[in-house]
Symmetry: C2
Subunit: 336 residues, 2 copies
DNA sequence: ACTCGACGTGAAAACGTTTACGTTGCCGCC
DNA sequence: GGCGGCAACGTAAACGTTTTCACGTCGAGT
């Protein structure tokens, strides 16, 4: 039925299949007029080359795979958007596989992608070195995103959590704040850990006299609320709060507001992520914006390079995508 | 290099390639012990069948394509999650292509998917009947999502905007509200139009004496804020606002709060979508929750059926995914 | 004028599978 | 004991491309 093959086009244009292939791909080794005739025939028959056959002989799928964890919210959406954009620009398709709960599921998903993709974008909490070595064909170009594995032969790319956190602390210090509380993320969470590290570093280098004050949290709004109460109970009272993410900052603000604390005058509050909600709370939340789409795009770029030039592959590099300070009313009365 | 083919396995297991294929796929027509030996050999060599070769001969890609508009926010993320989950359950891969701005780009993306997918999930503002007829191979199973095309030979699935809006109006009426303002979405937007329709229907059937009051909006928070001011100027003053989406409802609430209006006592406010922010504004926003992930899953299910049984394909059906009323403090003082 | 190279074109091999079709050997039945 | 049937297995064709190679043919250089 409808499946018109290259042979049909060849017959229609009164040439051999080889010429059709040449005319439609490179265009070299075939007269302009012949090429023209072939193109017309192809258009007339609505010919579309059979992708699988081409993959088989070419060894190129023109597809990249993205293996992602079970993500909620707009982080995922932004990431895919960035990846898709960069992939489209390179004429590559995108095969995604999200929500694999355990390491086995991830491994299965990874195996299933075998041979369907030219390269892999991998972001998974299960992706430790052993896992990779076990499940990754070592000749498949791969870029790791937000992984704890630096170097180790793989390309990696992640958000500059340290840098962002340092920016925030510097901003708070510049605002004259002395006692800055940090609300931690869930234990073991890499992003949270890096943000904490940035906080410590910035304090150590810019204000060695300022105390390091830690409160527990788990990225949930509730835990921020509880931390807020703890802040209220402290003596001397802190004059700034830096939460490891926006949701906790928002929870904390709720607690402070209930206690009648004036923000930012009495206590400044800041978060990390720049979730959409951040600009709508009162006062609007100062936070760190991370360009997630760019994380995706850059990872895709890196992967593209690796695919196009497998020989001079830049392995072991670990790039970071910049984080940006967004000042709003919760830390600066000046900021409208 | 490493690419081990079925021949290698055959040699290793001392059988023919046909037996390997049989053992690894159906398992029929081959002794248990031979099968065992073959499996062992395959495992030893880390054999993975070449996907492209299999597609070529089988005419099945085990992949479905999702063509999506340029979406922001968690709607997209939820949708993909739902699709991916259902696809995984059926052992299908997911090829996504988002962010195609104009009809040409969409058409190109669609053509490029040709032959790589067994079926298509399509959500696109450009997908009118002519577009589909022009660019869709008519033998490719397809499910349309959130489209204005009902019937017309295609399967379609969309959010029950009417139903949701009716639920909300009924809720407001039940709360004793008489003068309910509706804040419209952008002109031409399908979801917005259906929600408005639901509002009109519910009023007409349950409270024919209540006035139909419309205010313009564009789904943006700003437009909700402006609408809020208009509400304040109305005499007699409305006692409830139903915004076509949450962001406008939030904007409206800001305007009312500034004017010292007590919510929900003086004016109740409600939205549509149940964005994450909805539960964090004060008072928490009553809204309609639409299970986006389920939209994706159900679409995938429908498509799966169509693929598995192309003969008895259910074409022309138009299913709707339910919307759910979520009552919070902005319409009910009782709701904590 | 003859050779040589370049160029356009066609025939055929190759890619790795699945599957239709033979072939073999075994078992049971008359 | 021969024969039919069946199950296990092998051979080879087919899927639709790309690409290598060979074969002209034509133009230019000696």
């Amino acid at each position: 039925m409808a499946t018109t093959t290259i042979k049909d086009v060849a017959r229609e244009a009164r040439v051999s299949v080889a010429s059709v292939s040449r005319a439609l791909n490179g265009g070299r080794g075939v007269t302009a007029e012949t090429s023209q005739r072939i193109r017309e025939a192809a258009a007339r028959l609505r010919y579309m080359p059979h992708a699988a056959a081409r993959m088989l002989i070419t060894r190129r799928t023109n597809t990249i795979g993205a293996l992602l964890p079970d993500l909620y919210g707009e982080f995922f959406s932004e990431l895919i958007r960035g990846i898709d954009l960069a992939a489209r620009a390179r004429g590559l398709h995108l095969l995604v596989s999200s929500s694999h709960d355990d390491a086995d599921a991830a491994a299965a998903a990874l195996r299933a992608m075998q041979g369907r993709v030219d390269g892999l974008l991998l972001m998974s909490p299960h992706a430790d070195a052993a896992f990779l070595h076990q499940n990754l064909p070592h000749d498949l170009p791969t870029v790791l995103m937000n992984t704890r594995l630096a170097g180790d032969g793989y390309c990696a790319l992640s958000v500059d959590n340290d840098g962002g956190a340092r920016l925030m602390v510097e901003h708070l210090l510049a605002g004259g704040h002395q006692r800055i509380v940090f609300i931690q993320g869930p234990p073991g969470n890499r992003d949270a850990g890096e943000r904490e590290l940035g906080y410590r570093e910035a304090l150590a280098s810019h204000a060695p006299d300022s105390p390091v004050i830690m409160l527990r949290g788990d990225f949930g709004e509730e835990s921020g609320y509880r931390a807020g109460h703890q802040v209220l109970a402290m003596r001397p009272r802190p004059d700034a709060v830096f939460a490891a993410n926006d949701m906790m900052a928002i929870g904390c603000m709720a607690a402070l507001r209930e206690a009648g604390i004036c923000m930012p005058e009495e206590i400044a509050v800041s978060g990390f992520d720049d979730v959409p909600m951040a600009r709508y709370v009162t006062p609007p939340l100062t936070t760190i914006e991370v360009h997630i789409a760019e994380l995706g795009s850059q990872a895709m770029e890196l992967l593209g390079e690796q695919i196009d030039h497998p020989d001079q592959a830049v392995t072991g590099v670990h790039r970071r995508v910049a984080a940006k300070l967004v000042v709003r009313g919760s830390t600066s009365a000046a900021a409208r």
